[in-house]
Every structure is written in C-alpha cells, then in structure tokens.
C-alpha cells in the first residue's frame, strides 16, 4: 500500500515537473516560431492556423513595403513598434538579417504594411500566452 502511494506520488511529481517545463518551453517555442507552442502540445490545427495567420500578416506587410523597426531609444511609438515587431520571433530576425522592411514613405499602403508587421508580432505574443495556458492546464 505504502509502495503504491510512493509510486503514485513519484509519477505525479514527474507529471508536474513535465508540465512545469512545458509551461516554459511552449511559450518560448511559440514566440520563436509562430504556432510551434501549439504544435509541441499536439494542437496541430490551432498551430497551423496561427502559423498561417502570422506568416501571412508578416509577409503581406513586407510585400506592402512596410517598415521593420530596429532597436531604438528615440520616439515612444518607434520603441513600441520595435517591441511589436520583435513578437514575430524568428521572422523578425530573418527580416533584419536579410535587410527586409526598409519602408517606403511615398506609398500610403506601406504604412498599412508597417502596422501589419507590428500586429503580426502582437498576435504571435497572444498565441504564445495561449500556449502557456494550455501547458498549465488552464485551457483544453
């Protein structure tokens, strides 16, 4: 009886440890690659939809010649733009490394593109938080 209780306690401890590490890994993975936080928790459809939504918004923004913000300490809106862009994870680093997103002040739609890129990052952050909620069991 005592041995069974010990085994159950050990297994419960292992499950808690696993859930605890997933609670950290899932949002980080979800931030780095859109939808990955859901994929590693076997929410494939949700992950695929998030991946598609963030990728479409990010690349449509670049296609509209939107601006990708770099780190700055100037205007508050520029700082917030950088924080929003950073939410896209690997897409942001890819865009910076490839020198994409120079912006174009002569096109009205380019301003939409800038907002698309920022919102893609913000949506990805919401999705990463959702992955965390799934990991801690707050959401099915």
């Amino acid at each position: 009886m005592a041995q069974n209780t010990t085994t159950i306690n050990r297994r419960t401890g292992e499950t808690n440890a696993s859930a605890g590490s997933m609670a950290t890994i899932a949002p980080l993975a979800g931030w780095l690659v859109p939808g990955l936080g859901h994929f590693i928790q076997r929410r494939y459809v949700r992950g695929a939809l998030i991946l598609a939504a963030v990728f479409i918004m990010f690349f449509a923004g670049l296609g509209m010649q939107g601006k990708v913000y770099s780190f700055n300490t100037g205007d508050l809106l520029d700082i917030l733009g950088f924080v929003g862009d950073l939410g896209s994870g690997v897409l942001y680093f890819l865009a910076r490394s490839m020198d994409w997103g120079a912006g174009n002040i002569h096109r009205a739609v380019a301003d939409y593109g800038t907002k698309y890129i920022v919102v893609a990052g913000l949506l990805n952050i919401i999705a990463a938080v959702d992955a965390h909620h799934i990991a801690i069991g707050k959401k099915p």
Binding site: L49, A53, V54, A60, G63, V109, I126, A127, V129, D130
Partner: protein, 60 residues
C-alpha cells in the same frame, strides 16, 4: 516583391488574420472558437464599412 492591395482588401486581410488568432486564443472549444472568430471578423469588416460611410458623410 510588391503586394498591391486596395485599402479595403488590406482591411479584410487584416480582419481575417486577426480574427483567426482571436478565435483560437480567446475561446476553449472549436465550436466557440469558430463563433468568436466569425464574430470578430464581422466586427472588423463592419467597422471598416461604418467608418467609411462616416467619413463620406463628414466630407459631404
């Protein structure tokens, strides 16, 4: 590559992507996700149309 979208199409694409993520993240069951995502899309798209008419009325 340059993407040529009209303002309305850009707003619709924005609404589609944003409401997809909102639906998935803000509700718990697939049925509720679909309902809430659709609701957000209608509000986004409807908001654009209402704002457009409001600006037209202001101009005239």
């Amino acid at each position: 590559m340059t993407l040529e979208l009209s303002h309305y199409n850009a707003a619709l694409l924005f609404a589609l992507c944003a409401s997809t993520v909102f639906g998935i993240t803000q509700r718990n069951t697939p049925r509720d996700m679909l309902k809430y995502g659709s609701y957000c899309f209608v509000l986004f798209a409807g908001g654009v149309i209402v704002a457009s008419w409001a600006m037209w009325l202001i101009k005239h």
